[in-house]
């Protein structure tokens, strides 16, 4: 299928600054395809990002865009959305930005179930600062700050955001682009806090240090490690090892924050 996405990018800002083979470009392009598919009004879309490689996405996308501070994209987005609920507010974050320093805002955004679409590009590393481990760097992997192998556990971000109260949770990969478009589309159209983990690849700062020298190798790893959620539950624990489910992992109809607040305004103003 053909998507009309040139209009969603600031063409004069391309090529982007991401390294050769970086998955962020693929993910960003397919977010644009999902916006095209969902037929959203581009004048009413706001993209908010934090700091790090993922943070650069906002600069390329031709909407109202905010490149904010490290880890705080969700509270900025919360203010934008609550102040004007007719806006479609998309947060683009990374595994360092969103799951390390921004972890509190992620779970509280989910708890409020405010209508944001949060896309966390997970490349398993701090790329912009050249390769420190993140909360998503696999245990045992190498990183500049884990010269003897990483001893930290990872988050399961789908579990974490579900436990926080988010009402739409999905995971996709830069490898499976068609699935990614569907997931993004569903997340954009879902009313409530939508969290989408998009597995990306960082050949330069993660792959090189961990026996995956090229983007192609890393994409193959994504392919081999991902299992569609429809098939996931049928796997044995043994079969699940080293793998992760993709697709829409959780979805629930739940009252949305800005709507509830509007009800307060309506009722208070009616009384007055």
């Amino acid at each position: 299928m053909k998507y009309d996405i040139d209009r969603f990018f600031r063409q004069d800002k391309l090529p982007h600054i991401w390294c050769p083979g970086c998955g962020h470009g693929t993910i960003m392009a397919n977010l644009a395809r999902a916006i095209d598919k969902a037929d959203l009004d581009p004048d009413k879309i706001v993209v908010v990002s934090g700091i790090g490689c993922s943070g650069r996405a906002s600069g390329y996308m031709n909407f109202d865009t905010l490149h904010a501070t490290h880890g705080r994209a969700i509270p900025f987005a919360t203010g934008i959305k609550l102040a004007n609920p007719e806006l479609n507010v998309i947060v683009i974050t990374g595994d360092g930005d969103g799951a390390a320093i921004g972890g509190n805002h992620l779970i509280h955004g989910g708890r409020r179930n405010i209508d944001l679409t949060v896309i966390l590009m997970n490349n398993h590393i701090y790329g912009m600062t050249s390769g420190q481990f993140s909360p998503m760097t696999p245990t045992g992997a190498n990183a500049t700050t884990a010269p003897y192998g990483n001893i930290d556990q990872n988050f399961n971000l789908a579990d974490l955001t579900k436990a926080s109260g988010a009402s739409f949770i999905a995971r996709g990969t830069a490898f499976n682009t068609r699935q990614l478009i569907e997931i993004f589309n569903d997340g954009l159209l879902h009313k409530g806090f939508s969290f989408i983990e998009a597995i990306s690849q960082c050949p330069v700062n993660y792959g090189r240090r961990n026996n995956m020298d090229t983007a192609v190798e890393m994409l193959k790893w994504q392919k081999e490690s991902s299992v569609n959620i429809n098939k996931w539950d049928k796997l044995s624990d043994e079969e699940k090892k080293g793998k992760f489910p993709t697709g829409v992992i959780y979805k629930e109809d739940k009252r949305e924050y800005t709507e509830m607040y509007q009800e307060i305004i309506d009722s208070v103003q009616k009384e007055a």
Binding site: M1, K2, F9, L14, P15, H16, W18, C19, P20, G21, C22, G23, H24, G25, T26, A29, N30, R33, A174, T177, R178, I181, T214, A215, V216, L219, K220
Partner: protein, 68 residues
């Protein structure tokens, strides 16, 4: 709607030679030459969109013949 279009390198200057499209192409019509993606066999292109969907750098598109 495969077969309605063919791959075209619309923005060669954006290519970083990452080989991702090459991996996805089911008919091996793409090749990185001197760090630059090239179409080596346009007739082989089945217009599957894999390359367009996977390219991280907005380099190529599948366009209908009369779009050229």
């Amino acid at each position: 709607m495969p077969n309605k279009g063919k791959v075209k390198i619309t923005h060669p200057n954006r290519c970083k030679g990452c080989n991702i499209c090459v991996m996805y192409c089911p008919t091996d019509v793409l090749k990185v030459v001197d760090g630059q993606i090239t179409v080596t066999d346009i007739d082989g292109c089945v217009g599957c969109f894999n390359c367009e969907l996977s390219c991280p750098d907005f380099v190529l598109e599948v366009v209908e013949e009369d779009d050229k």
